[in-house]
């Protein structure tokens, strides 16, 4: 059975699933949506990075992180720091008591750029920092937790606590971080206006490209022996350990990779939305990311992208008219999914799509029996 799944994942049908998604985000959305709406979709798609990271870490690895906002935030803040420094050139900030530093620092009576801000004036360093620092931070957390065999609920709580600490730190250290408002008023990237329509279109496409790249990379991991080991660890950790594997290393690696992926999303968020704030770092966004993954199907790299889009369309639609109701609706959806559709949208699709596809095939006289959305482990036991 799993042979088939492997082939689906790496083979023709997996490719169809990805192709359908690519056509939707690269062609259909840009055709149907105006610039404002497309930018909104682009923002949603940055959350999908975090949702994908949870497929690997939680769906396959069995380790729930309630702190992916940490890494999304680190990526986002990294990018925001660079853009903010560029926006704070001495000419732009001539009216400040200390020109050349970000405005919020000036408001907080800070008179020189803090040392850890300095390197972010280099775009090269910033990119490197976005790619490396969140993963490095995850590495330290991972070593501290997994080598001591801390896992399950304890790990989830600890990641949550770290998310809270980071938020408190950002909010509290207003002079260094921009505080609760975050880092705002980002305008140019190497002199190029990022608020222009053409920039927004370009970022949207870059974002889509990165998302597809991340899906492919994740697939490579999941179809390798590493991927099967993740499932094995989730199921019987001791059996893996007593088969000669140092289990902690596998968990550390996937946690770092998940951090890396989430940080990419965060950086793309900043570029497309034009600011970064602690409200994308803490408990609520971290839990929302888990909900996106659960609704989309935590075993499906592509399913979670649809899950993220669906929940966010819902959020935008409902929260405009009934802001209080939305939280309950989302909570309710989450509980319903966990209880009745443990594999989310992707699970429903793989359950019902054979019939649908059969119908389509017989209507049009085609012959293509494979399912684009399926992924291995949909048969998983829920624990």
């Amino acid at each position: 059975m799993s042979f088939v799944y492997d082939k689906l994942l790496g083979g023709k049908s997996g490719a169809i699933g990805l192709l359908v998604l690519s056509v939707i985000i690269l062609i259909v959305f840009p055709m149907l949506l105006d610039g404002f709406r497309l930018n909104l979709v682009g923002k949603y798609l940055t959350y999908a990075f975090a949702a994908i990271s949870l497929v690997l870490l939680w769906g396959y690895g069995g380790t729930l992180s309630l702190g992916q906002g940490i890494f999304f935030g680190l990526g986002g803040y990294g990018m925001a720091m660079f853009l903010k420094l560029e926006a704070s050139s001495p000419e732009n900030t001539a009216i400040q008591s200390t020109p050349g530093i970000p405005d919020f620092m000036d408001w907080n009576q800070i008179t020189a750029l803090p040392w850890f801000w300095e390197p972010f004036s280099s775009f090269g360093f910033t990119l490197l920092a976005i790619l490396v620092l969140p993963a490095l931070f995850a590495y330290f957390i991972g070593v501290a937790m997994f080598k001591r065999r801390v896992g399950g609920v304890y790990f989830a709580i600890i990641t949550q606590v770290i998310a809270v600490i980071l938020t408190v730190l950002i909010v509290g250290q207003q002079g260094y971080t921009g505080g609760i408002n975050g880092i705002t008023d980002l305008r140019t990237l190497n002199g190029w206006d990022i608020t222009s329509d053409s920039a927004k279109y370009l970022f949207y496409y870059i974002n889509c490209g990165l998302l597809i790249g991340v899906i492919l990379l994740s697939r490579f991991i999941l179809t390798s022996k590493f991927g099967r080991l993740l499932l094995a660890i989730r199921d019987k950790e001791d059996r893996v350990r007593f088969s000669g594997y140092d289990v902690a290393n596998f968990k550390i690696f996937i946690f770092c990779f998940a951090a890396f992926v989430s940080a990419l999303g965060g950086a793309m968020f900043t570029l497309q939305v034009g600011f970064m704030s602690p409200s994308f770092v803490g408990i609520v966004p971290s839990i929302e990311m888990v909900i996106f993954a659960a609704v989309g199907g935590r075993m499906s790299l592509i399913g979670v992208v649809y899950g993220t889009l669906l929940i966010n369309f819902g959020k935008t639609t409902f929260s405009e008219s009934f802001p209080e109701l939305w939280l309950f609706l989302m909570g309710g959806t989450f509980i319903a999914v966990v209880m009745f559709f443990p594999n989310g949208l992707a699970g429903l699709w793989s359950q019902y799509s054979p019939d649908i596809i059969k119908k389509i095939r017989s209507t049009f006289g085609m012959a293509n029996p494979e399912l684009p959305l399926s992924s291995p482990g949909l048969k998983e036991t829920n624990s």
Binding site: L231, D238, D246, V247, N249
Partner: protein, 250 residues
């Protein structure tokens, strides 16, 4: 304290003690196993049989004493290092990966690509596939390669776990109650399997089923309250009045 003496035995356990909050589950145990020997440990529930395996494979840390395997001290090694030295262990309840196929269960246990990057770039080569096929045949699951392990019968799960160990070609194979939950026919097949795989390695089996023990054991150790009550050939042990009193009598 680990002993300094080396022996010709494949496994030599000396003065091994573990105490859980003062309760000595294994108490000053001495046990030696030869190469090519199939050694069975029997004893009443709670005698400490499983704990002995836990100590050998590093799941439980000993309070004192030494465990030497091929003259290497195991008590200081971590679990995966002990496995890599050639020690395989089957758990009392079948411990297999339910969501993976039989083939994948065996592949995941294949002793290559054991590091993070090794596993990412592990290739399902001809060599790997033929080894998996060979083991699957041995454990009588060659017809179930693509079956999800969760769907196997209890007995087949036991076999699969044995196969997952065999594919690593361990020099010491430890099996905790391998025939629990098996039908009579499956027990016979398992006895044959154990007899064939005990060649060229040491096998340590824990079992309650005396009929089965008679069929496979070269030597038997009877454990009671963490201590050795009797040891030797099966027929000698069976006649031992102490053994009859605490274990075989009922």
């Amino acid at each position: 304290m680990p002993s300094m003496t080396n022996t010709d035995f494949s496994l030599s356990i000396e003065d091994l003690t573990v105490s859980f909050d003062g309760f000595k589950a294994v108490d000053n145990l001495n046990l030696y196993i030869d190469k090519n020997e199939l050694h069975v440990v029997i004893g009443p529930n709670g005698a400490g049989k499983t704990t002995v395996l836990d100590l050998i494979c590093g799941k439980t840390k000993s309070t004192s004493g030494s465990i030497k395997f091929l003259n290497q001290e195991l008590t200081t090694l971590s679990e995966h290092e002990i496995v890599r030295r050639g020690v395989g262990r089957k758990f009392q309840t079948p411990s297999i990966y339910e969501n993976l196929s039989v083939f994948e269960n065996l592949e995941v246990s294949y002793p290559e690509g054991r590091g993070v990057f090794g596993s990412l770039f592990f290739k399902r080569s001809e060599k790997v596939i033929s080894k998996i096929n060979e083991i699957a045949k041995l454990i009588m699951l060659d017809g179930e390669m693509e079956t999800e392990a969760a769907l196997l019968s209890h007995g087949q799960k036991q076999w699969l776990e044995i196969g997952m160990l065999l594919i690593q070609d361990p020099q010491l194979l430890m099996l905790d109650e391998p025939v629990a939950g098996m039908s009579v026919k499956e027990r016979e097949q398992t006895a044959e399997l154990l007899n064939s795989i005990s060649k060229g390695r040491s096998v340590l089996v824990i079992e309650h089923d005396m009929e089965f023990v008679e069929r496979i054991a070269h030597k038997v150790t009877v454990l009671h309250q963490g201590k050795i009550l009797a040891a030797g050939k099966m027929d000698e042990v069976q006649k031992d009045p102490k053994v009859i009193e605490v274990y075989l009598g009922h």
